[in-house]
Amino acid sequence: MNSVVDSQAIQPVARICGEPLMEIPQDLYIPPDALEVFLDTFQGPLDLLLYLIRKHNLNILDIPMAELTQQYMAYVDMMRIEQLELAAEYLLMTALLIEIKSRMLLPNPKTETEEEHDPRAELVQRLLEYEQMKTAAARLNELPQAERDFTIVQVLIKQEAVAQLPGVSIEDLSQAWLSILARAKVNRHHQIKREALSVRAYMSQVLRDLRECKQLQFYDLFSPQATAAEVVVTFLAILELAKELLLEISQDHDSRIIYVRSIDTAQRA
């Protein structure tokens, strides 16, 4: 058996002064004290009608309309004070029920076709659809639900203690240089030829070499493995450094040895 029926069967319809009201009295009369609770129990007129039909085995044909209407009207009176919208819905339902009843009572004109619209059909259809959704809702609620019936595992990701360093691409550098050029518009002073870059790279290297030793023999600045091109570039770098007064070139009178000396006095301090 499904649990929806079970749970509904054991739940009191309402509580009056703490006492559970296990079922709606047969005469459909709801004590006025209980009405408020009673209305909370039902989702609306459709829900109430469905309950009455199911619980009391009412055939929709045999609904004691006078009583039911009276009952509904009583709710409406109560509700008008606070829940006007809900009252309207009960009122609408009452009107519908009365319409159905009256149509059933009136003699059926034979001129209509066999397929004549049954005034109950639409209501029955609505009741059934509502009941189906009501059941589905209860079933959904039975499904295990995250946070209510289980918890999702979530272990902390221990972030690095070391801050992540920004990445730089070659494009970033080009872009940066381009923006400098764009700002400078005419970049006379800093125009550099393609070859000059390698000269400048070697200038850095010569300065590094000289950082290690106070002074070096000229030839020591050239790596034995250097290619001809590298020798030329290194030589140009030395000349450029001399021109920029970054190093001093001197020759010993006796030994004829050429010395290269950094004029960087600061670093030796």
């Binding site: 069967a9 009501k134 589905a136 209860a138 019936d149 070391v162």
Partner: protein
């Protein structure tokens, strides 16, 4: 303090990862991520060098490994995730008072109508329930991430059309809407009145579908 020991560009290539290590990485990813991880996402862990078949096999292996523990690896609509077994929840509730709301019947019925009849407008829901639907009902379901407006019906007022989300499926441990409990055929109301003393309220009729 832990310092990054493996620079990103020097990660071991897949060949050097043992199957155990691969499973370990998968496991850690699933243990640390609250949202379910689809296979497509898990592939990123290995620079897309592992096939769906291999990953699935590993995932079932991990699931097997945890079979006797308090957590389980499951597959839901949006992917795979670890969650606690239901019998653990009462203990966990002692640590933190349950935060998930207990939904009212109004909310549950609205949710059911959206789940089974989607996409629907508020008007459709009201039509079925026979009462107006409070905005708070729709808001609480939206806030939970279970429903969303997926469009508007092209009628006067352009009412929003609501549907359930994949988070709704995830949170209910479902892989698709088809896994929702099947709708029951309701007992006809017209031939009640006969023999229904014992109230077979929702007895499914087998002859109809």
């Amino acid at each position: 303090m832990s310092v990054r020991s493996i620079p990103r560009n020097e990660l071991e290539t897949l060949e050097s990862l043992t199957p155990d290590k691969i499973a370990q990485i998968l496991e850690v990813a699933l243990l640390t991520t609250q949202e379910p991880l689809p296979i497509s996402e898990l592939k990123k862990l290995f620079n897309h060098e592992l096939s769906t078949a291999v990953l699935s096999k590993l995932l079932y292996g991990i699931r097997e490994k945890w079979a006797d523990s308090g957590i389980e690896l499951i597959s839901v609509a949006s992917g795979w995730r670890f969650q606690t077994r239901p019998d653990m929840q009462p203990y966990l509730d002692r640590l933190t008072p349950p935060k998930a709301p207990r939904y009212s019947r109004a909310v549950l019925e609205t949710l059911a109508i959206i789940a089974y009849r989607q996409p629907v407008t508020r008007g459709d829901i009201e039509e079925i329930r026979g009462v107006s639907v409070a905005s708070t009902v729709l808001k609480s379901l939206s806030a939970r991430g279970w429903i969303e407006a997926v469009g508007h019906r092209n009628v006067a007022g352009k009412p929003a059309l609501f549907a359930t989300t994949s988070k709704f499926l995830d949170d209910l441990k479902l892989r698709s809407l088809e896994e929702l409990p099947p709708l029951e055929e309701m007992k006809s109301l017209l031939d009640s009145g006969e023999n229904n003393q014992n109230l077979p309220l929702i007895e499914p009729e087998t002859d109809k579908e």
